[in-house]
């Protein structure tokens, strides 16, 4: 008998303390900051009650980074920023310097290495994105490629602060929407029910769990070709794809019929109005790699109209609140179809129960 292999027991250390990673001026003034301003796009200037000041320079990254890119970012931090960096929730990197004189050369160095400086204030910042074809097991499209293609189009607005208010975008490769709520989101929208491989269902899927997963109770157990499987009531199915993760033989992804939809008006912040969910405003866009030009055109159009028409501090949702949905569709030229009228639970709250109508 072989001797048992000694495995290393994990050290369940959990979330590490961040104190040793903080820039020394941040550690010194922890919890005692007074105000900030933005001397230029991509730079935040924070002033502490002690009088200490720091400048944070923000730059865009590709999120999925090779070790060489990360080492380059580290070299820049070692040269300018006392060897410290932090990342934002949208995968931007921030360098913190306590000497204003370092700001300009730091920006020059970042730009020299191809990292755009910006993403602060009323800019279009980096797109929150998911995994897509690169690593997800259920993706309808790619994530990093969509983001790269869109950010190439939007990079000028990343580097400027000329939008009415901040603009957050997200992309999601299936209707689970891992990318989350955003001012503008691009999400896969399937248009056909799953195609079932009945030879595999019995061996791969826990059938009662799959039945329970369907939001519209369209899936039921069935014997197909003498094998226990599942069948779908296609008149009920709204093609959400919720059955696909627990049951991969129920293939929902389709190169032609998995389309992309555009959603607008999500906001997580409590500033002004309460947080809002985004609303679907366009669907049926083709999933067209490697650059998804049809999606890019709709996104740019909406953002251009918003930029021209919204008042200062109006997020996309605030702007639409003011101009109303009829004017939104008119100004953007997007067709308002019957599919945009909500019929899910609580949908009556999304109907206009008033005579408040703009003409």
């Amino acid at each position: 008998m072989n001797a048992p292999v000694q495995m290393r027991k994990p050290k369940e250390t959990g979330v590490p303390d961040n104190k040793k990673f903080l820039h020394p001026v941040l550690a010194k003034n922890f919890g005692d900051w007074k105000y900030h301003d933005r001397p230029r796009p991509g730079v935040l200037h924070h002033v502490a009650h002690s009088g200490d000041q720091v400048w944070s320079v923000r730059a865009g990254t590709q999120r999925q980074m090779d070790v060489y890119t990360i080492r380059t970012l580290c070299d820049i931090a070692d040269k300018f920023a006392e060897g410290r960096v932090r990342f934002t929730i949208r995968s931007n990197i921030e360098y913190i310097v306590s000497d204003e004189k370092k700001v300009a050369p730091l920006i020059a160095e970042l730009e020299k290495h191809g990292f755009p400086v910006g993403g602060t204030g009323n800019s279009i910042t980096m797109i929150a994105h998911t995994q897509g074809w690169l690593h997800c097991d259920i993706p309808g499209t790619d994530a990093s490629g969509v983001v790269k293609a869109l950010m190439d189009e939007l990079i000028d607005e990343f580097k400027r602060e000329e939008m009415p208010n901040r603009v957050h975008l997200s992309t999601s490769c299936c209707e689970i929407n891992c990318g989350g709520q955003a001012d503008l989101a691009i999400i896969v929208q399937h248009t056909k029910p799953p195609v079932i491989n009945h030879d595999l269902v019995a061996n791969v899927c826990e059938r009662p769990a799959v039945v329970a997963r369907c939001p519209v109770a369209a899936i039921r157990p069935a014997m197909v070709n003498g094998k226990p499987s599942l069948e779908i009531d296609e008149t009920k199915c709204m093609c959400c794809g919720a059955c696909y993760p627990p049951c991969p033989p129920m293939q929902i992804n389709d190169p032609e019929n998995s389309k992309l939809a555009i959603w607008v008006g999500g906001k997580n912040s409590n500033a002004r109005g309460k947080p809002t969910f985004m609303k679907m405003v366009a669907a049926g866009l083709p999933n067209n790699p490697p650059r998804w030009p049809e999606v890019g055109a709709v996104v740019k159009n909406i953002l251009t109209v918003y930029k021209e028409d919204a008042r200062p501090w109006e997020r996309l949702a605030d702007w639409i609140d003011r101009i109303g949905w009829p004017r939104f569709f008119e100004k953007t030229g997007l067709p308002f179809t019957k599919y945009l009228i909500d019929d899910w639970r609580g949908s009556r709250y999304n109907l206009n129960a008033s005579t408040h109508i703009r003409f």
Partner: protein, 430 residues
Amino acid sequence: MAKKMHNTPNLDELEKGEWPSFVTGLKRLAKDKDIAVDLLGQLEASYKTRKGFWKGGTVGVFGYGGGVIPRFTELKNADGTPQFKDAAEFHTLRVMPPPGMHYDTATLRQFCDIWERHGSGLIAFHGQSGDIMFQGCTTENVQKAFDEFNEMGFDLGGAGPAVRTSMSCVGAARCEQSCYNEAQAHRAVLNTFLDDLHRPSLPYKFKFKFSGCPNDCMNAIQRADMAVIGTWRDNIRTDEALAKTWFAKHGMDELVNDVVARCPTKTFQVKEIGKIKKGEHISSVKVSDTHAVEIDNQDCVRCMHCINVMTGALAPGKDKGASVLVGGKSHLKIGGLMGTVVIPFMKLDTEEEVEVLVDFAQRTIDFFAENALEHERTGEMIERIGLSNFLDAMEIEVDPAMINSPRMNPYVRTDGWDDEVAKIKAKKQA
């Protein structure tokens, strides 16, 4: 030197343009690593066919049940061998970040060295739940890579029906709007649930997120089962020098149109100095020799807008803490839910006060574990049983701050009304 590159005409298109290209990064890795060569091959196949080719499986590290996302290729030749054999296994290790996602370069370089030795060299900062994602590892190397990350003081994140990795904002480290020590609360809560994080056994995932103020930079309200969002109870603070500086730069039009008109409760007013009210709930500050702003803080909902516009001139009060909202999640299965208020305000200044939050989190997770259906999120569970029942179980008093409005239908049995009123009266007198 790695093997020969595959043709990748689609991905090559993504090397054009000004934004940093992940394809260029992958190609650089592919100079030395066969796994990156074949990853590019498989990704190009996805771009050609518009299909994904990864399937899950079971890969982990000794002692844990989650934290590794297994990926095996589904692109096979006729004889069943993988078309891209060097990326046939391409697992991800999820590693929890420090609060606020601060790093020193020594740590990042060490990550890179470890991942160059054991993985593909591809790292995402960060995934949507906040994890550092070390992408692309063979089954054999997962344990080796984890052991080295773990020795550095880093630990795996959550996956599956488990407590998930959390995020907190830059917060008190650099932000004047911070209303509690986000990093302390983040660690105190998460590190209480490491067993539930590393060994998935809940009905479904459970996420915590920590934002220092109602701007909610961590998107906690929308994507956390429990959102801890900083706020304050006393009056907005003011600074006359900064208020005058702001006004000198921006003027009356912007003050009226961008601040007064955008106050959601219209409690923010601009007045001639002589007409400013005085009182215990009034904040006021002169913006010029003739005009001042006046805020009746009892009508303020702490939305942050005026503070965002006039940062420094206005600031959150000193009696800070957090609101706790429960039940946020995305679409599946019943539709998107925002978290709703369960604790309108709690202090988080001392370790004892943070312990109260940890205790509430513990009781919520215990209740969730016992009462949620399989694959049901906390928000869906509360929708099914009603908020009152959840509050009862948590031993939390009802509070009108928890609702938009009282009920709009009579479909409720109210024969316990008198008892409830008596309880509230007794409590008031006590």
